[in-house]
């Protein structure tokens, strides 16, 4: 009995000593590691031990010193686990500036909580966490977490990203112990190659990093995996339950996914008959695809249930048909099964759905950087988003366009890319007529068509706000409409095209400011005024990702007794930059004037040193958008 207790004390004493010495070490930090840092990783060691084809342990120890309260919630220590992973060690202690321990995680301040992601209904994921009560800075936190992983949990490989933005690093190591018969595959960025050695039955890979200054967070920066040290790992051979797989190339990884989906596309007889009835009389495969996609949208809904193997393997087509719901995998599998029934081939597609994928996949390194599944119909070159009940057939949302994806073909995985983002396919055509009436009143008429990525929000709005009043309130709150008390409101969602149109009329009583003989009037009711924050010294490139083509026309009608004193454009205003083109012009009309503006925005990677020009483009645009017309009583000649 005595020996284990002594051992326990010894381990704890060791951890304490380390925490204290690191805490004191913060006093000796060079300025280069303090600059731009809200925290400093004093030491970080990640040990990855692959124990078999289907199991591994991950031991992570780190000591981080928080320099101020602006750190990125690094006082919250979290470890995730589920039915296939277990936390063996969860130890957290904290010391103050003088190395005095003021916190140690104990049963009373460690919590376990189930986490269900926003898009899921049922998941079997948990987190263990504790919050270190840092009330004064610097505050040094020492952590040791060990987790044991099996099966699917073991596929969550411990990619190494030891330092984050606004954080500097003194020293970190990543050591992987892998049985000789299994290949460790890795792709690294901004890290030197590992030292490799052999120790008994294991090959050992060891990466080391030292003295990395803090990289400040900057808006519109590329994802951190591209600008900070990062090592991504995978295994050449693994087993999950009875399925063997490999990440040695995309084809084999795709084969593995294909194997766990095998046999799940059998349609119940009654559904098979219905499927044939649905496509009866369709002249082309495209029409068949369209009819079956609509059939699925009407019949099924998205419900995410991720329990056990269900996190990777889809519910069978029979299950989906019985329940009429499923997650992205289940619905894609179901749709694919129906297409197969009528002789149309399709591939499940692994994809990352997000504004910007956190890791851009590459041809030479197979990895699972995906969080979603869609379906691809090769004969029609068409992707189908099977979780949407209201997308037009073949429409892929902006969050899935222009990125690497993995087609799961019968022959194995094949890397592909979703269609690129083209500005002319995403934007709006909006027209406003404003008639000045009396001293202050303005008759306001709006009609607009939103298309592509710009219509997605409006399509969702139509699906989730059934009531007209709810839609009006939302549009007003988000500045698409000037009030909620108008008339002639229409809101039309095109079924077969990614388009939403709306119209609205109202009378505005506060748009004109009368000052003596003059009236001031802001011409553009929807100015584009997104200006990036100024930065004296930009360090990272600008990864601009917006794709839009915005066309606005504003007609201003006014009485003959008035004339415009200022605000008229004598010639077109034109601004150009790698990220966009702006053009605005005015024309006289019989009733007053017409202002036409086109604004094209496109993705571009702008070097850090060109940030001032990048920002200036948006400053120019904002100025040009904020045109104020000054009317005065017409002077007789």
């Amino acid at each position: 009995m005595i020996r284990p207790c002594l051992l326990f004390l010894f381990i704890w004493a060791g951890a304490q000593v380390q925490g204290q010495s690191e805490a004191l070490g913060v006093l000796a930090l060079p300025d280069s590691l303090r600059q731009n840092a809200n925290s400093v990783v004093m030491a970080h060691d990640l040990e990855y031990r692959v124990t078999s084809l289907r199991s591994a342990t991950i031991l992570e120890r780190w000591v981080v010193t928080l320099l101020n309260s602006r750190h990125d919630r690094e006082d919250l220590i979290i470890a995730a686990y589920d039915g296939e992973s277990k936390i063996n060690t969860f130890e957290v202690a904290a010391t103050d500036l003088f190395g005095r321990e003021f916190f140690r995680a104990k049963k009373g301040n460690i919590q376990d909580e189930r986490v269900t992601s926003e898009v899921s209904f049922l998941e079997d994921r948990w987190v263990r966490y504790t919050k270190v009560p840092c009330t004064a800075y610097p505050c040094t936190i020492a952590v040791e977490i060990e987790r044991k992983l099996t099966d699917f949990a073991a596929m969550a490989f411990p990619h190494w990203s030891p330092v984050q933005r606004d954080q500097s690093l003194v020293k970190s190591t990543f050591t992987a112990y892998v049985p000789n018969e299994i290949d460790l595959l890795y792709a690294s960025s901004l890290v030197a190659d590992p030292q490799v050695s052999v120790e008994g039955k294991d090959r050992i890979y060891r990466w080391t990093l030292e003295n990395i200054p803090a990289q400040p967070s900057e808006p519109l920066a590329p994802v951190a995996t591209e600008t900070l040290p990062y090592v991504r790992v995978a295994l050449g051979d693994f087993q999950i339950e009875n399925y063997r797989g490999s990440f040695s190339d995309w084809s084999r990884f795709g084969s593995f996914i294909g194997s766990i989906m095998t046999g799940r596309d059998q349609l119940p007889d009654q559904l098979a008959a219905e499927v044939h009835a649905v496509v009866e009389g369709a002249a082309t495969d495209r029409e068949r695809v369209d009819r079956l996609y609509r059939f699925m949208q009407t019949r099924c809904r998205y419900v995410s249930v991720q329990l056990g193997i269900g996190g990777w393997q889809p519910f069978s087509a029979t299950y989906v048909d019985e329940n009429r719901y499923g997650d992205c995998k289940a619905l894609s599998n179901y749709m694919g099964a129906m297409l197969k029934e009528v002789g149309i081939a399709s591939y499940p597609v692994l994809i990352n759905s997000s504004d910007v994928p956190y890791y851009a996949i590459r041809e030479d390194f197979a990895t699972s950087a995906f969080n979603h599944m869609v379906l691809y119909v090769p004969s029609e070159e068409m992707y189908l988003e099977c979780t949407s009940k209201h997308a037009p057939t073949g429409y892929l949302g902006e969050s899935t366009l222009d990125r690497g994806v993995l087609w799961i073909t019968p022959e194995g995985g094949r890397l592909a890319r979703t269609p690129s983002l083209v500005p002319s396919e995403h934007g709006h055509l909006r027209s406003v007529t404003q008639t000045l009436d009396g001293d202050n009143a303005v008759e306001f008429e709006l009609s607009a068509t939103y298309f592509g990525g710009a219509q997605e929000l409006f399509r969702e709005l139509a699906a989730y706000f059934g009531s007209t009043q709810d839609r009006l309130d939302w549009l007003h709150r988000n500045n698409f409409l000037p009030d909620v008390s108008g008339s002639a409101f229409t809101y039309t969602v095109a079924e077969d095209a990614p388009e939403v149109t709306l119209a609205y009329n109202t009378t505005l009583n506060s748009r004109v400011r009368k000052m003596g003989s003059r009236r001031f009037f802001a011409l553009n009711p929807h100015p584009y005024t997104n200006i990036p924050d100024p930065q004296e010294e930009r360090r990272l490139p600008v990864d601009y990702r917006t794709t839009r083509f915005l066309v606005d026309t504003v007609r201003v009608h006014y009485d003959e007794s008035l004339e415009i004193e200022s605000g008229l454009l004598s010639e077109a205003l034109v601004y150009e930059h790698a990220v966009g083109e702006y053009r605005a012009e005015m024309r006289a009309t019989d009733e007053g004037l017409l202002w036409i503006r086109t604004l094209l925005l496109r993705p571009a990677l702008v070097p850090a040193e060109e940030f001032p020009e990048f920002r200036q483009f948006f400053v120019d645009v904002a100025k040009a958008e904020s045109i104020q017309l000054v009317f005065r009583e017409r002077r007789t000649k």
Binding site: R70, C134, E322, A463, G466, S467, M515, T529, A622
Partner: protein, 664 residues
């Protein structure tokens, strides 16, 4: 005996027996009319419709465990549009320490005919954090026109506070019913009295309860008269919230019961929470309330650490400040609110973290030990219900502060942020009234805070191009100071520095050149002095004119003027005053040609005033003085039109330009 029960029952509530027709609803069976319905009568845009919702309260008695409470829930909802399909995903949560859910059953009724049960294997029981658990299930074959129906039984060991019931929802309701069968031994008080469509209370004999030795035949169970209650509402429209509302949920018709007294046969009545005086005694005897701050064994270590800082203070006011600062410096708030402590003050101090009650009870222990009279102050947070003073209902409270007095004046203490000075509770706690749990004098008090003030002095040097160099000096008091200091300390970028977001809203092209706070060590925490320098295109240059926008920092936003009609009161958290003084210096040769006439706006009751005045101090030098004062925080819904008009006119003033002309 029966007479006594009647009396008891009739004491309970105003009886209004009005026999009304209640729908005959059998679980698992829907009518053809319900199945065929595809639109809510009177609301064709509604995406779902509650056809039937019922909560039945009942009681059970076991000789070993005593009384317990059962609540049967039965709900039937018509799904009319795909936007409502998420309503088919059901989560029933409970805390297994106090309750248990069982007998969960669910059916879906398909629009084309037929009904399907949700298989028991697809009703999942999940463990959540701590002792919380949930039943989760979703319905198969959901489609437009389908009806989802489920029921379950919830048992609670504690009969003190049954679940509250709300008749109205965010979608229309055809029938909502609360019924209860209450044994005569229990006297409940109901908090709300909605205008019910059915209000039926009668006495119904029923076998229940402990086997009392009432006569020659021991151990028999007799039938006794229960209060048999049926409250229902029909055809309720969907509920809609409005901006600047507080406690909007209070405007929903609901039932909230709390046990007031228990009287078993042959025993004297035992009051549970008969009045506030009794309530305070109960609370003070609780370990997690009174004893934590009155028994030194619970706060010895905390006091030992804080004593050197507190005891050296000469005055009581300084002791209060020192204790308040000590807690803020040494214990961080974990983001949770509560009216009861989760740990002793010593444990809270050791863990350096706690909920709002943990922190403030720790403060109470220090004040108590330092000889400062202080008491717990319980409040319901904003938007969690208006205070109810008539009955000692404890579950209305969800936050604990500290009431004390300094220089004979009330002082409200609410630790949790070093940036918020003593006397300023959290904004969320400003729900008008709070209850002081003073054992000798429990009482309700108004949560009055001083009017927060801000003065902004701007020097604006305008160039001929319209671009201006602007220096803003601002002195902020109370909540303005807290907001300013917080914004400065927590900013992620310069664009989030105090005042900058508001300026960028008006002038997106503005560019901040510097900002700084004057924070001498001895500066009171309720003050914040701040300077901001920027360049901004404040004027439009046209020929020989400059049109200047002098208000760079609007004092009111337009949101209040946005709603056409108002159903609920407008409720601001605290009173405030803002004064904006801009000194505009024009390029040589420019003179003021036109400016808005001086304006003085005053609400009919004087609770809100706004003044605006432009004065040409000297050629090329103009001052603009603009003030808005809001003295009242609560305005009734019928006062909205007048208030909205004030806001509209103030908003107009904020955007009115000044016109300067170059003298030739």
């Amino acid at each position: 005996m029966i007479r006594d029960f009647c009396t008891l029952v009739f004491c309970l509530m105003t009886i209004q027996v009005a026999a009304q027709s209640t729908p005959e609803v059998s679980f698992g069976r829907v009518t053809d009319e319900e199945r065929a319905l595809m639109e809510v009568p009177g609301d064709p845009t509604a995406d779902a419709y509650v056809l039937y919702d019922r909560l039945s309260l009942d009681f059970e008695y076991s000789d070993s465990d005593g009384p317990s409470l059962t609540e049967r829930h039965h709900r039937r909802v018509k799904l009319l549009k795909p936007s409502s399909f998420d309503r088919a995903n059901i989560t029933l949560t409970f805390n297994r320490e106090y309750a248990e859910i069982s007998e969960v059953e669910a059916f879906i009724h398909l629009p084309g005919g037929g009904s399907l049960p949700v298989p028991a294997a697809q009703i999942y029981r999940e463990k959540l954090e701590g002792t919380r658990e949930a039943f989760k299930f979703t319905f198969p074959q959901v489609s437009e026109g389908a009806i989802v129906e489920y029921r379950y039984l919830e048992r609670r060991k504690n009969i003190l506070i049954p679940s509250s019931y709300t008749f109205q929802e965010d979608i229309p309701v055809r029938w909502a019913q609360y019924d209860a069968m209450i044994p005569p031994y229990y006297r409940y008080v109901s908090l709300t009295a909605p205008r019910l469509d059915v209000n039926e209370v009668k006495l119904t004999p029923r076998a229940w309860g402990p086997r009392f030795n009432t006569g020659a035949y021991n151990g028999g169970q007799q039938k006794i008269e229960h209060s048999d209650i049926l409250w229902a509402m029909r055809d309720l429209p969907a509920f809609r919230n409005q901006p600047y509302s507080n406690n909007a949920g209070d405007y929903l018709p609901s039932v909230r019961l709390q046990l007031q007294a228990v009287q078993y046969p042959g025993s004297p009545e035992r009051s549970i929470f008969s009045n506030w005086k009794e309530t305070v005694k109960e609370l003070q005897d609780r370990q997690d309330f009174g004893r934590y701050y009155r028994n030194k064994i619970n706060y010895n270590a905390l006091w030992k650490a804080a004593e050197p800082l507190i005891a050296q203070q000469a005055s009581e006011g300084e002791k209060i400040e020192a204790a308040y600062a000590f807690i803020n410096r040494n214990i961080s708030w974990n983001g949770n609110y509560d009216m009861l402590a989760s740990k002793t003050p010593d444990q809270v101090f050791q863990s350096k973290s706690g909920n709002s009650a943990d922190l403030n009870i720790a403060l109470l222990s220090l004040l108590n030990e330092a000889g400062v009279e202080a008491h717990p102050l319980l409040v319901s947070l904003r938007n969690t219900g208006a205070p109810i003073e008539q009955y000692p209902l404890l579950h209305q409270f969800n936050h604990l502060m500290v009431y004390t007095e300094a220089d004979g004046k009330p002082l409200l203490l609410d630790t949790g942020s070093a940036d918020r000075p003593a006397g300023l509770p959290r904004e969320r706690a400003l729900n008008h009234r709070g209850w002081v749990a003073d054992k000798s004098d429990p009482r309700w008090i108004s949560l009055d805070v001083p009017s927060s003030r801000q003065v902004m002095m701007l020097d604006v040097d305008v160039a001929e191009s319209g671009e201006a160099e602007v220096v803003v000096k601002s002195r902020m008091l109370d909540y303005f100071a807290f907001d300013g200091r917080t914004a400065l300390n927590q900013r992620k970028s310069d664009a989030e520095a105090p005042m900058v977001p508001a300026i960028l809203q008006v002038m997106p092209e503005a560019r901040v050149t510097s900002f700084s706070a004057e924070e001498p060590d001895d500066a009171p925490r309720n003050q914040f002095t701040y300077e901001l320098r920027l360049t901004a295109p404040v004027a439009q240059a046209v020929d020989d004119h400059l049109y200047i926008q002098p208000i760079l920092l609007p004092l009111v936003d337009g949101e209040l003027a946005d709603v056409d009609t108002r159903s609920f009161p407008i409720d601001f958290p605290y009173p405030w005053q803002q004064r904006y003084v801009a000194n505009l210096r024009l390029p040589a040769g420019y003179a003021l040609e036109e400016a808005p006439a001086p304006v003085r706006l005053r609400a009919a009751d004087g609770s809100m005033t706004a003044t605006y005045q432009v004065q040409e101090v000297s050629p090329g030098h103009v001052s603009v003085v603009y003030t808005v004062i809001l003295d009242r925080t609560l305005y009734a819904a019928d006062e909205y039109p007048a208030l909205r008009e004030m806001f509209r006119r103030i908003t107009e003033l904020q955007t009115s330009p000044l016109i300067f002309k170059k003298q030739l």
